[in-house]
């Protein structure tokens, strides 16, 4: 299970079709998204304060990105000083090899993993399987989807597509001596029992990183279940994996970002746990890991970084608000995208990481309604970026920084837009065309089936507006 398909475009239409036909899924997502939106709204009663906070959040992220290379060096230096070993990985493969080697170095076999999108992105679980390790997801949602051999359908709520009856069935069938119950507390208790044992036995704990503070060499981890704390403190070795963009300048940047993150993500003012990890167990301490490793993952991020506009992608703090507000995600759920990051941020990140040839079609699944951009706590102009990637997809311009640019271009479509442009640049031709559309409206070829399958055919007016205006002569300004 690599966590995503290697070619998200492939069969995208089939997955969309299936998702739209799945009543249960549509109902779950509809309900969940509305619940999350309402909760988030209730956390920001003062809209002006929210806008000011978003400004500060965006500025903090921008400031950090402007100095990204410096900050990463500073982070490395301060982490080393704290006893955290730092590793750099250019690609997913490099990261996987590095991490499996670290596990081997202590002869580790059993691994627990807290929630981490970066490790989903690199397909770490698959690499572990290949190496013969067992890695248990310890976030309850992740645990549920892992056990079902599925992938997460949301970056914050991995099992949001599942209802309690199906989870009850799964636990009953897959966890020995578990009676069937739909009682949520009991279900959580069952999961917790399994996980507790795994924590106690694990040699290595893997986690993600929400923010890494350059000035102090501190790793921050936000969570609600305590599994992050367990994974990072109980096993001998803790390996944290983070995308290089997650670094921030200073501790003082944290409060604003945290406020934005938890409120945007789950509508919580704060989360149950907030971990600040500053190093391995010291000589005089009785618990904590003996080794802490930080893997700094590039995996295409420096390429994104190189373009001024696309760089805004890297402001993302992975809160998931954009998907919660996206009308397309609401109808499809996360799996239809075939990517680790679904929804608007997925549509922007994945084509840049994978290449437009493999994931460019995702950029079409957007009506440019702007809800995501309005929700994003760090003001990433997601609609603009989606449109930019559409442009990159159909243009062969030399020097484009985006992988696979031009590969979504279709000759027929390009021709249509050329003809369109000619008509709309040539008034007499435009006039003729509209006249044909209005006068000859009964002669119009039936519109593409895509429109008429769901809607009545379009009916042009009998006379165009320009004709009405022409007939009328100049505007009698003083009429009346």
């Amino acid at each position: 299970m690599s966590g995503f398909s290697t070619h998200p475009d492939h069969d995208f239409d089939v997955r969309v079709h299936d998702a739209l036909g799945n009543e249960e899924l549509r109902e779950s997502f509809h309900g969940a998204m509305h619940f999350l939106r309402d909760k988030r709204r209730s956390q920001f009663p003062d809209l002006d304060a929210l806008e000011a906070l978003r400004d500060r959040g965006a500025a903090i992220r921008d400031r950090a990105l402007a100095r990204l290379p410096d900050l990463l060096e500073q982070l490395e230096k301060n982490c080393l000083r704290n006893g955290i070993q730092v590793h750099w990985a250019d690609t997913a493969e490099e990261a996987n090899t590095l991490i499996t080697d670290l596990v081997r170095s202590i002869d580790g076999k059993r691994i627990v993993k807290g929630k981490s999108m970066a490790t989903e992105e690199i397909g770490l679980n698959t690499a572990f399987e290949a190496a013969g390790f067992t890695c248990l997801e310890s976030d309850m949602g992740e645990y549920i989807v892992q056990q079902a051999k599925e992938t997460p359908s949301h970056i914050i709520m991995p099992a949001i597509h599942r209802n309690k009856a199906s989870i009850a069935r799964q636990f009953h069938e897959q966890i020995p001596e578990t009676p069937y119950t739909e009682d949520v507390d009991e279900l959580i208790g069952t999961g917790r029992r399994v996980l507790r044992r795994a924590f106690a036995e694990a040699d290595v704990g893997i986690s993600g990183v929400n923010f890494a503070v350059a000035e102090t060499g501190t790793l921050c981890l936000v969570e609600n279940e305590g599994n992050g704390r367990m994974s990072t403190t109980v096993p001998e070795m803790h390996i944290a994996v983070m995308g290089i963009e997650k670094v921030i300048e200073r501790l003082a940047d944290l409060p604003d970002l945290l406020r934005l993150l938890t409120r945007s993500a789950t509508g919580q003012a704060i989360t149950t746990y907030f971990n600040l990890i500053s190093g391995p167990r010291k000589d005089n301490e009785i618990d904590g890991p003996r080794q802490v490793h930080l893997v700094l993952l590039d995996n295409g991020r420096s390429r994104i970084y190189a373009d001024r506009q696309l760089r805004e992608t890297l402001r993302c703090i992975r809160c998931g608000a954009c998907m919660n507000h996206c009308p397309v995600y609401e109808r499809l759920g996360g799996h239809a995208y075939g990517t680790v990051y679904p929804g608007p941020i997925g549509q922007v990140v994945m084509p840049q990481l994978f290449g437009l040839d493999r994931a460019g079609k995702l950029t079409q699944a957007c009506s440019l309604n702007g809800a995501c951009g309005e929700a994003c706590p760090v003001r990433i102009p997601l609609p603009d970026l989606i449109r930019r990637l559409r442009h990159e997809g159909v243009t062969h311009e030399a020097g484009s920084p985006v992988k696979g640019h031009g590969r979504q271009r279709k000759a027929g479509e390009a021709l249509i837009w050329k003809a369109w442009s000619l008509i709309h640049r040539t008034p007499w031709l435009y006039s003729l065309t509209t006249r044909f559309a209005t006068r000859g409206r009964r002669l119009l070829p039936p519109l593409p089936q895509a429109w008429t399958r769901h809607r009545a055919p379009l009916e042009p007016a009998e006379q165009s507006f320009r004709e009405m205006m022409a007939r009328r002569g100049d505007s009698p300004g003083d009429q009346q």
Partner: protein, 250 residues
């Protein structure tokens, strides 16, 4: 802009108004003229370039955008009876033409572009007197009007002046109707799922009529309502305002 100084405005008709809702265009003209303005309608205008722009065909969009900038060159307001086309001129031309010789002109145009109802309400501050029978209408504000232009209030404020008109918005009013230009055709099933929810919410209001100031949304929602043989008329806001205030036939 000082209202007293405005004697003349441009009208940018938009291609959808031109072909599908010409009476909305006429209503816009008449509403502006009734306020004593001279409405200049450059006859050579066509479209704002949004369709290719949103599809990523910048070059083709630019070719059309240049003509708009040139045809609306006098320093007077440009009035657009559509939120998304107004948004195109105001928010996207400056970046689309940033490296063009017309860059300055495009930025200038952006600052004097208004959506019709925004202009009527905020700049002209028009007063409307309702001359119609009691009715209940449901107002759909397009995503561009709501988010890009920030003018949701303007349409509602104008309607609010009509004493016999009860105005409501559908549940989840901020949700996209699924039009999105070529999205409606390219991702037609997703678009239809969105439109279906919108139609349901609109109908649930029990309103007599649906209004919107964006022809794209109107086409989309009305197209689905008609396909489903539902009994609810859809009309452009400008046309409704003109008729309710005693304007003669368009």
């Amino acid at each position: 802009m000082n209202t007293a100084e405005i004697k003349r405005v441009y009208l940018f008709g938009t291609c959808l108004v031109d072909v599908f809702h010409p009476r909305a265009g006429m209503a816009a003209v008449r509403l502006l003229e009734r306020e004593g303005l001279f409405v200049d309608f450059p006859p050579e205008q066509t479209c704002c370039g949004q369709p290719p722009y949103n599809s990523g065909y910048d070059e083709q969009a630019r070719d059309v955008a240049r003509q708009v900038v040139e045809r609306f060159s006098d320093p007077i307001p440009v009035i657009v009876p559509s939120g998304s086309c107004a948004g195109m001129l105001r928010h996207h031309y400056p970046s689309l033409l940033a490296d063009d010789p017309l860059a300055d002109a495009a930025r200038g145009l952006a600052t004097r572009t208004y959506e019709l109802h925004e202009f009527l309400n905020r700049v002209l501050k028009i007063r409307l007197e309702d001359k119609g029978e009691p009715t209940k209408i449901v107002m759909h504000t397009s995503c561009s009007a709501r988010r890009e232009m920030g003018i949701r209030e303007d349409g509602l404020a104008l309607l609010g002046q009509l004493k016999n008109v009860e105005v409501c918005e559908p549940e989840n009013a901020e949700a996209c109707c699924g039009f999105g230009g070529t999205f409606a055709v390219k991702m037609s099933d997703i678009s239809a799922a969105m439109a279906a929810d919108k139609c349901e919410a609109i109908e649930a209001t029990g309103a007599d009529q649906l209004l919107s100031s964006d022809c794209g949304c109107l086409m989309n929602i009305d197209g689905m309502l008609r396909k489903q043989a539902r009994d609810l008329d859809a009309e452009h806001l400008a046309e409704f305002l003109w008729q309710r205030t005693g304007g003669d036939a368009l």
